[in-house]
Symmetry: C2
Subunit: 263 residues, 2 copies
């Protein structure tokens, strides 16, 4: 298993994504936190377990969005008090860090078999899996690999991407830059696209097209001399598909990478 133990030393960020000023530093019994899975033989009343906390947190985030994740709302779902959650998690930031990593476990499973084919194709496959996960869960992007001490799955995903780049036989620096670029593009783009339209949540598909159309109309109303490019692409924008747009951008990076690898 993973075992980056943290005995009272501060955690760190990773991969260029540094954790901000928050110093969620394991106040109540830090190193025992990992064993918090107890089989729950004779559970007293609620008996949460970190797993249950994260699962319910993710469920809350998925169904009602980031602003709905509240210690009180989460506690209500768990059938307990809000303060109890602090026994498993030292702050809301850590809760979100752990929830993000909890979700990444599924992505990791989804790309388990990838690695046998063409390196670039495998890279694309993994990147797409990560993209899908973040688009479905916009909050994920903001907390992806912020603190690898608490997010082993993020590290594993980074590693899996890296292993494909490894087969391109580039130097360490080019390899590092390549994976960083891919991750940066995937997370950044997916997080952007995940921010839904105001009321499109309600009706689903039709609303999105109309939303785009109204937007496109606003663009078309701009001065043609001052905004030639916008007029050039407004039709593409009006009918664009997020996944295709992402894929096209990813392919630009991968094409550049292939070129660099001399393939």
């Amino acid at each position: 298993m993973f075992d980056v133990r943290n005995h009272a030393e501060e955690r760190c960020g990773g991969m260029g994504r540094m954790s901000p000023q928050r110093q969620h530093g394991a106040r109540p019994s830090p190193e025992v936190r990992a064993v918090r899975e107890r089989p729950a033989a004779g559970r007293r009343r609620t008996s949460h377990s970190l797993e249950a906390v994260l699962t319910e947190a993710v469920a809350l985030l998925d169904t009602s969005g980031e602003h709905a994740l509240t210690f009180r709302a989460l506690a209500a779902r768990l059938g307990g008090g809000a303060a109890s959650i602090y026994w498993y998690v030292s702050s809301k930031d850590e809760l979100l860090d752990r929830a993000a990593d909890h979700v990444l476990a599924d992505v990791l499973v989804a790309v388990e078999g990838v690695g046998g084919g063409d390196p670039v194709d495998d890279l694309r496959t993994i990147a797409l899996a990560l993209f899908d996960a973040i688009v479905e869960r916009p909050w994920l992007g903001a907390y992806f690999m912020r603190d690898t001490g608490v997010q082993p799955n993020g590290l594993r995903l980074y590693e899996r991407l890296g292993q494909q780049v490894l087969r391109l036989e580039l130097g360490p620096r080019e390899s590092f830059h390549a994976v960083s670029a891919i991750v940066g593009f995937v997370v950044g783009t997916a997080a952007d696209m995940g921010q839904q339209a105001p009321e499109a949540v309600l009706s689903g598909e039709v609303d999105r097209d109309e939303y785009l159309a109204r937007y496109a109309a606003q663009w078309r109303a701009l001065d043609a001399d001052e905004f030639p490019f916008i007029h050039h692409v407004v039709d593409e924008f009006a009918g664009h598909d997020d996944a295709e747009q992402f894929r096209a951008g990813l392919d630009l990076i991968l094409a550049g990478l292939s070129l660099q690898a001399g393939r």
Copy 2:
């Protein structure tokens, strides 16, 4: 001038970046808001003006970070009450949207002369300018071009990037995808890199190296069989430069784009 007037109709997001559920929809006298610049002849007591509000908001964000931007703190800086700010701005989201666009005006000025040389080089220049702005202000990334109705400068920057792509003579779809990819990469990467280390804010340079070193040590402690890639690039990570890392990733995209344009 820009004149995307919004008479009581709802604003929209743009470019794939949709604004979330917030419907900051101009409650108190919407369309007059643009004229809120009054020369302040006989100012009564405080007399803010949108400009002053945004300037102080940005100053607060720059010196103390996003969490320090509070209506009360901002009001204290302006020498007035917190509720007064709502006359210029209908919500904190709109305040941040406008503050973000306010900052982009500087970027726009910085890239004013760009456009004469090689299209790809000009693209790189503009992207770098945007990158620098976001790295200095991590909060900018999250609010870049979320609501073009309130953020004309974001649109203008998008347009300027697009104009360079236009010269590559691609089809509308490829052009749209290219600019979207560049913007997505720039914003995503820069926002990530902007999240500073916990205490690195205090000491500046030396702390960052030590921070990276401690992180690298954590990576080196990982199992070499399970994490071959991480071991392969850990030295690069330990001594990496954010700007160089960004540039390398951007060049991958631009290389792919050059290939596509047949140059």
